[in-house]
């Protein structure tokens, strides 16, 4: 980018003028700013700007550059759009983005000084309550990075509770979540029993239950699973708990819970998930929102920040971060997790969106998303060579195609239709999965979108 011809003293983010700098250096007793870096060995001190990097640029120049880059993407809002597989595109009311940009939320720090952070703290308390009710758990934390890292944290927590180190992962668990857990397990020494997704109308709950034994710390089941099927959590919970293992339910699409029963109600001991589909948006995969709920008796083994209710010196209700003796800044190497953040602003967006919806609105949103899925599945199944895999689904389902799904996805994109996710992108190298396409819908899906997908797919498969 072309540099602007102006001095630092007018750099728009730096309030010090050269005169200020001179006065301050005089107070300090230093000849220049470089002298303040005297502790840096001379050999490591750079004499000028780093070669090969441009100089400062005006706001308008930066905006122009970024707008040009943005225009190089085909955006979801431009075309018929059917991608899911762990990230969902839903309507986010304009109110949400307006409110999260209030500077008092956007530019605040972690609420370590509760007297001047009650806004953030009350939001977190409300968020925890919303998540707990959505998941059907006793309690929930103030959020983690995302669903995949929350999933590993749940496995680690189950290990602490049961003092066992073998986790059984359902084949329906999102492959990126499996991969994240495998990375960690490789270094912690935990054993993970995994299976690849099977292409069948119902998830194979029997095989999963058969893998549970007296060494098992936890069983992980995605609900709905990566193919959109709805496993029988009640049965799996009973089987796990009979062996002294915990059931961890993983929810990557919380909107689905507007239509089907909450996992905690069905017996899950820990429920984790990805909160992105409420309030946060697609954002090419991040930042997202890790949701984490569990039974109250496990609260002291939970990872991450927790906000609790208390009173102030005048007896007024107040909120404060609590049980921090679990956390790294107090416990250091004995902490329950190394996490030092929550996904605060995403939690706020989620909470505002869910407040606007309420339980009734969430049910309507889930129903609309589901009805679009039924409509899309029916239309797709009518195409020659296309079959719907699932016996049950909410707003995401799998279809089999007569050609490799990855090729079909590219061919659809060339026709300006974002038609779904090829399962082979998530689980490569499995011959029986190459022809499977995951298709998701939401309340944003229209009749025209479904017609365009079917027309383009018919053309591609012809």
């Amino acid at each position: 980018m072309p540099p602007m011809s102006r001095g630092f003293d007018t750099m728009r983010y730096l309030p010090l003028s050269d005169r200020d700098r001179g006065e301050m250096l005089a107070t300090i007793g230093a000849p220049d700013i470089d002298a303040l870096f005297a502790d840096v060995p001379a050999a490591a001190r750079l004499s000028g700007p780093i070669a090969g990097l441009p100089g400062h640029a005006s706001e308008m120049a930066v905006e122009r550059h970024m707008a040009r880059l943005s225009a190089e993407s085909l955006t979801a809002g431009q075309v018929p759009f059917f991608l899911g597989a762990g990230a969902y595109r839903h309507h986010v009311p304009a109110t949400v983005d307006h409110l999260i940009q209030r500077g008092e939320f956007l530019t605040a720090y972690t609420p370590y000084q509760p007297e001047i952070a009650q806004g953030t703290l009350q939001v977190l308390f409300e968020f925890q309550t919303q998540v707990a009710r959505l998941f059907g758990t006793d309690v929930a934390n103030a959020s983690l990075y995302d669903g995949s890292t929350a999933c590993w944290e749940a496995i680690a927590m189950a290990g602490r509770i049961t003092r066992r180190s073998k986790a059984v992962l359902s084949g329906g668990l999102h492959p990126h979540y499996v991969g994240t857990a495998q990375t960690m397990a490789r270094f912690t020494g935990d054993t993970l029993v995994t299976a690849k997704p099977e292409v069948s109308a119902q998830a194979d709950d029997e095989a999963l239950i058969a893998a549970i034994d007296a060494e098992t710390s936890c069983v992980l089941v995605q609900y709905p699973d990566v193919l959109g099927r709805i496993p029988d959590l009640n049965r799996i919970a009973a089987a796990a708990q009979a062996q002294g293992a915990l059931l961890i339910a993983v929810v990557t699409e919380p909107v689905a819970l507007g239509l089907i029963e909450s996992p905690g109600t069905l017996g899950a001991d820990i429920v984790v998930g990805e909160g992105q589909s409420l309030g946060v948006g697609l954002q090419f995969g991040g930042p997202y929102l890790g949701l984490f709920g569990c039974r109250e008796k496990y609260v002291r083994q939970m990872p991450g920040r927790l906000c609790g209710e208390t009173v102030d010196a005048d007896g007024k209700r107040a909120f404060v971060l609590t049980l921090s003796t679990r956390e790294q800044h107090i416990r250091r190497e004995k902490a329950t997790s190394n996490i030092c953040t929550n996904s605060g602003l995403c939690a706020l967006a989620f909470s505002i969106h869910l407040s606007l919806l309420g339980g009734e609105g969430l049910a309507r949103m889930a129903r609309a998303s589901h009805l679009r899925a039924v409509q899309a599945a029916t239309a797709l199944a009518a195409l020659p060579g296309v079959a719907v895999v699932n016996a049950s689904y909410v707003n995401e389902f799998a279809i089999t195609l007569p050609r490799p799904a990855a090729e079909v996805v590219d061919a659809l994109a060339a026709r300006r239709v974002l038609g779904g996710v090829a399962l082979s992108r998530l689980v490569p190298g499995q011959a029986d999965l190459t022809h499977v396409l995951l298709v998701a819908t939401s309340e944003l899906t229209t009749d025209e979108d479904i017609a365009a997908l079917c027309a383009a797919l018919a053309e591609v498969l012809a």
């Binding site: 490591a44 750079l46 409110l99 952070a117 806004g119 790294q328 800044h329 605060g344």
Partner: protein, 517 residues
């Protein structure tokens, strides 16, 4: 002294804090612009909804087991929601309101251009699993930012996916583990200085290492001799924060790095304080093998009330092959590619795996890139210079009022460290911090680093003006004098915040973490 705020500051009061006014109680509990706000569950109703949906024809799939009742969540109409959250927001302090001198946290101005850019649809409204040909704009942001991070640090490569600083630490340590595994070396110990952030030992433990502490010297730096004395065939590496948490540059880092490398270990640098040296010093020149960069600190993506952050990790030649998936690479056709699981065996055979779903914190990458492009290489060096200048100005203006344990040793970097030495009996750092709230400031970092008693770590950042610093210094002078004199009004501060001191013990004794009627 100049009266900086003639409308609000009354010089005739001198060091005396005005007694709380005898104000009448109000019926509502509100006090003009101080508005109390009930909980969502107290104002919301099950039959309220602020979102409408278009009708969709059809009926649910036959056989789908529907939930018995909607989730028990109250709703708000749109005006109620706007008011609920706007009222709550006003109970927060924020960088938009005033100085936020939290040491080690880097609370500086968050440019609004960055917010605008992050919402551009080519970055915000793209799905992480779209065909790569349709997400070139997003991939170019990642690639351009990666190029900047590599060049600013003088390193070989960068892993972009870690979601925050602690996640970046984990990435660096897993890369070290993977590199050791690759040569069949079973080293189990990570050396961590006593002054380190709590995340350092927690991360080392989370990654399956044992932690051994390294003492600090009297001048606030790592004890180089003690560290080198601990090296051996069992030591996988060291984690060093530079500039360190006392706000000082670790002069011996290169010497330490050479010794660690000679002993077969690796050097992890906690880059939380990279903002002090960016554009002036490259960690790669100091022998660092891995360092996370908190985009929310050095490159000013907003803290958002506690996240989300982003923690890309720059890697040396020795560790670069082990970087996690996915990796953005140029393709033969001029397009950018994503190396994921399908291609990893061929193109990233030593990658240690995946740290999270998808590709990292895109929303933070676009903000950070806009910030970096705005500054340029020259502006970043000016920003770090101004940050260090502001901190030294605070240090020199306050060292006669507050005990500054390392002031005599020379300049500080981007933050000035003080202790509670000299306070009246029964008065502690916390009291001064709470007094600062009444003066209209967010307190500095308190009781950290642990190596200084009653530590107060002040990080003004480069985005505070001299006039703003002068007023802050005036407030600190007053508070320091009151803490030394034992002013009882300080002991019960804050007096003017939305809440007085809160009962943390009560919150922890019988935790109430969710609302119930």
């Amino acid at each position: 002294m100049t009266v900086l705020n003639p409308a609000g500051w009354r010089p005739e009061l001198g060091d005396r804090i005005p007694a709380a006014l005898e104000a009448p109680e109000t019926v509502t509990g509100n006090r003009a612009l101080h508005l109390e706000e009930p909980l969502l569950f107290e104002v919301g109703r099950m039959d309220h909804c602020g979102v409408d949906f278009d009708d969709v024809p059809g009926s649910p799939l036959a056989g789908l087991a529907l939930r018995a009742a909607p989730v028990d969540l109250p709703g708000l109409s749109e005006p109620e929601a706007v008011r609920h959250y706007t009222r709550l927001s006003r109970q927060n302090y924020a960088i938009d309101l005033g100085p936020f001198p939290l040491g080690s946290c880097t609370m500086k101005h968050n440019p609004r251009l960055d917010e605008k850019v992050a919402r551009m649809p080519g970055f915000a409204d793209v799905h992480p699993l779209q065909p790569v040909g349709t997400v070139q704009g997003a991939l170019k942001v990642i690639d351009e930012l990666a190029d900047w991070l590599v060049k600013l640090t003088g390193m070989a490569a960068v892993a972009m996916t870690p979601k925050a600083g602690a996640h970046g630490e984990l990435c660096g340590l897993l890369a070290i583990r993977a590199a050791l595994d690759a040569r069949g070396d079973k080293r189990e110990v990570i050396l961590v200085p006593e002054s380190a952030h709590g995340t350092n030992p927690a991360t080392a433990a989370f990654a399956g290492f044992q932690v051994e502490a390294i003492p600090a010297t009297d001048d606030g730096r790592v004890d180089t001799a003690a560290l080198i004395g601990k090296l051996g065939p069992h030591v996988a590496g060291v984690m060093i924060t530079n500039p360190n948490t006392c706000g000082l540059f670790e002069r011996d880092l290169k010497t330490i790095a050479d010794a660690v490398h000679a002993a077969g270990g690796y050097v992890y640098c906690d880059g939380a304080n990279f903002n002090a040296i960016v554009g002036r010093v490259r960690p790669g020149d100091l022998g660092v093998d891995a360092m996370h960069i908190n985009l929310h600190k050095t490159f000013s993506t907003p803290h958002g009330g506690g996240g989300p952050g982003a923690g890309p990790v720059v890697l040396s030649d020795a560790l670069a092959p082990f970087a996690p998936l996915p990796v953005v690479k140029p393709g033969s056709d001029g397009m950018l590619r994503l190396v994921e699981e399908a291609d990893s065996a061929a193109e990233a055979p030593e990658a240690f795996g995946r740290m999270c779903a998808f590709h990292g914190q895109m929303g933070m990458f676009s903000r950070a890139l806009a910030y970096i492009l705005s500054h340029g290489a020259d502006g970043l060096a000016q920003a770090s210079g101004d940050a260090v200048l502001n901190a030294n100005y605070v240090l020199r203006r306050l060292e006669h009022v507050l005990h500054a344990p390392f002031a005599a040793a020379g300049p500080c970097m981007h933050e000035a460290l003080f202790s509670d030495d000299g306070f009246a009996d029964g008065f502690a750092t916390l009291d001064l911090a709470k007094g600062l709230i009444d003066e209209g400031y967010h307190p500095m970092t308190v009781y950290f680093p642990l190596v200084v008693h009653g530590a107060m770590l002040v990080e003004p950042t480069e985005t505070e003006s001299k006039a703003g610093l002068d007023q802050f210094i005036m407030a600190m002078e007053s508070l320091g004098a009151r803490a030394k004199a034992g002013d009882p009004a300080l002991k019960s501060a804050p007096h003017f915040a939305p809440r007085r001191r809160v009962d943390e013990t009560r919150a922890a004794r019988k935790p109430r973490l969710v609302w119930s009627a």
